[in-house]
């Protein structure tokens, strides 16, 4: 129950209201994150199921998104601040082309943490990624806990993540 209020509160802060809020919460509850495949820089396929038992803070970005790149230093700070045994921070690029993703990582010095690439659009469609940066919090079983979470640059984010049991 408490979790629902937190979700509602954070969505409200993000400018979502009324019916849209109800629809989004109901929709997010149906989503599972483990069915989607992502590639690492070596081309190896991964699933978020690898982090089952941990919370996952997803950072959805693209090389062409300046506001996303601006969050990266804060994301690094966040990653060092949270307990890695409890929380995994995963960056997922939605670049259309792999070379753009890798070029962006090299060009902008984005080289820490788990960096994966969403090679098809299934994940983007299911999670309604229509603006970025977008941050999503998954629970220990890969279900959506927060469909649109606060940014790493928001101090409340680290505080909230540290309180997770």
């Amino acid at each position: 129950m408490k979790r629902i209020f937190i979700v509602l509160g954070l969505l409200w802060c993000n400018g979502v209201s009324g019916q849209e809020l109800k629809d989004t919460v109901a929709y997010a509850a149906t989503l599972g994150a483990y069915q989607y495949k992502f590639a690492d820089t070596a081309g190896v396929q991964h699933s978020l199921q690898e982090f089952e038992g941990k919370y996952v803070y997803l950072d959805i970005w693209a090389s062409w998104c300046y506001p996303c790149r601006k969050e990266y230093p804060f994301l690094k700070e966040l990653e060092h601040a949270v307990d890695p045994r409890k929380i995994e921070v995963v960056s997922i690029s939605i670049d259309q082309q792999e070379y753009r993703w890798k070029g962006g990582m090299n060009g902008y010095g984005i080289n820490e943490g788990v960096q994966w690439w969403a090679s098809d659009t299934m994940f983007v469609q299911a999670f309604r990624i229509d603006r970025i940066p977008r941050f999503i919090l998954l629970d220990k079983k890969g279900k959506v806990m927060q469909f649109s979470m606060t940014r790493p640059s928001n101090e409340q984010t680290i505080t909230f993540l540290k309180k997770l049991k």
Partner: protein, 329 residues
């Protein structure tokens, strides 16, 4: 005296205040730039001409003032193409330049905010308008500048959208066709293939088809007009050699005078996938075929450069219908 001193000091301060260059001003204006709005758009391209520009996905941006409007306020959105270069400089990107008409703001770029409200009912997004100068599978930065009348102060005066544009090329391929006896076309190495093993009648004359229909399909629906398919026969050495190699069998080309295209064009109606009529290839002079020999001929789709509705053949072997004859000895 003191008053003069203050005045001189102020004068010096004012005259020494350097006006920021346009890029610095822009950077300051973009201090609250928080999101990249993602859109997708598509257009159909036939013989280099684009049409059917469609905005597939978008997320509306709320057009709002910093406070409630004192009277009805109209916010105007315009695509500012000059900001692409500034953005590239500011953020170290290489977004391609765009024409003023490639994209348009939603709702004709006009957003009304009622008195006492602070957000417009209609939201801002961009639509794909003219893809003629755009490239396939390319991400475009579309900067939108907002201005308000009535002295309204906008929450955000510049919004950046990123639209992924794809161009779907219209093409045609051979889809199938008629049968004779128990021989039906099937896909072989990508082409539609009819393989006839023909027996002879009491007089020793091979029994084969007098003609066969060939149907054509479009790779994508073209809503705006019909598409025209054209075909020619092909018994070139390159075709015969390539097929022989793929089939591990030696084929000869059909003898002259044994084949002809008797209907060399077909039409795909607007917004449909399959041709409403067929191409027809006719066969005659069966006595020219030697028993015990494999023969091959092809029908391939071509473009008529004089017909703007002549859709190009799909690249590769799917634009071929292949016919082989083998007469039992």
């Amino acid at each position: 005296m003191k008053r003069y001193g203050v005045a001189i000091l102020l004068l010096i301060l004012v005259s020494c205040t350097k006006k920021d260059d346009a890029l610095t001003e822009l950077a300051r204006e973009l201090g609250s730039y928080k999101y990249s709005y993602i859109e997708t758009g598509n257009a159909i391209i036939l013989n280099g001409v684009t049409s059917g520009e469609t905005t597939l996905t978008y997320r509306g941006f709320p057009v709002s003032l910093t406070g409630n409007a004192s009277g009805e306020t109209v916010v105007t959105a315009t695509i500012d193409t000059s900001l692409v270069a500034s953005y590239n400089t500011l953020y170290n990107e290489t977004n391609p330049s765009i024409s003023a008409t490639a994209f348009l703001p939603s709702f004709n770029g006009s957003y009304r905010i009622a008195a006492g409200e602070n957000t417009a009912t209609d939201s801002l997004y961009i639509t794909l308008n003219d893809a003629s100068k755009l490239k396939d599978n390319t991400l475009y930065l579309v900067p939108v500048r907002l201005t308000a009348n009535n002295g309204g102060q906008l929450s955000t005066s510049i919004v950046f959208f990123k639209m992924m544009v794809t161009l779907t090329a219209v093409d045609l391929y051979i889809n199938g066709g008629g049968s004779f006896d128990y021989t039906y076309p099937y896909a072989r190495n990508g082409s539609q293939y009819w393989g006839f093993y023909l027996s002879t009648d009491d007089s020793g004359q091979p029994i084969g088809p007098a003609s066969l229909n060939i149907s054509v399909a479009a790779g994508v629906r073209y809503p705006f007009d019909e598409l025209h398919a054209y075909a020619v026969t092909d018994v070139s050495d390159s075709l015969i050699t390539a097929f022989s190699a793929a089939a591990y069998t030696t084929y000869e080309k059909f003898p002259e005078g044994t084949y002809a295209i008797t209907k060399s064009s077909a039409t795909v109606a607007p917004n449909t996938l399959y041709s409403k009529d067929s191409l027809t290839v006719s066969f005659s002079n069966y006595s020219a075929f030697k028993p015990g020999t494999f023969y091959l001929m092809g029908v391939k789709l071509v473009t008529d450069p004089n017909d703007p509705l002549s859709a190009p053949a799909r690249k590769g072997v799917t634009s071929y219908a292949l016919f082989s004859f083998y007469i039992f000895q």
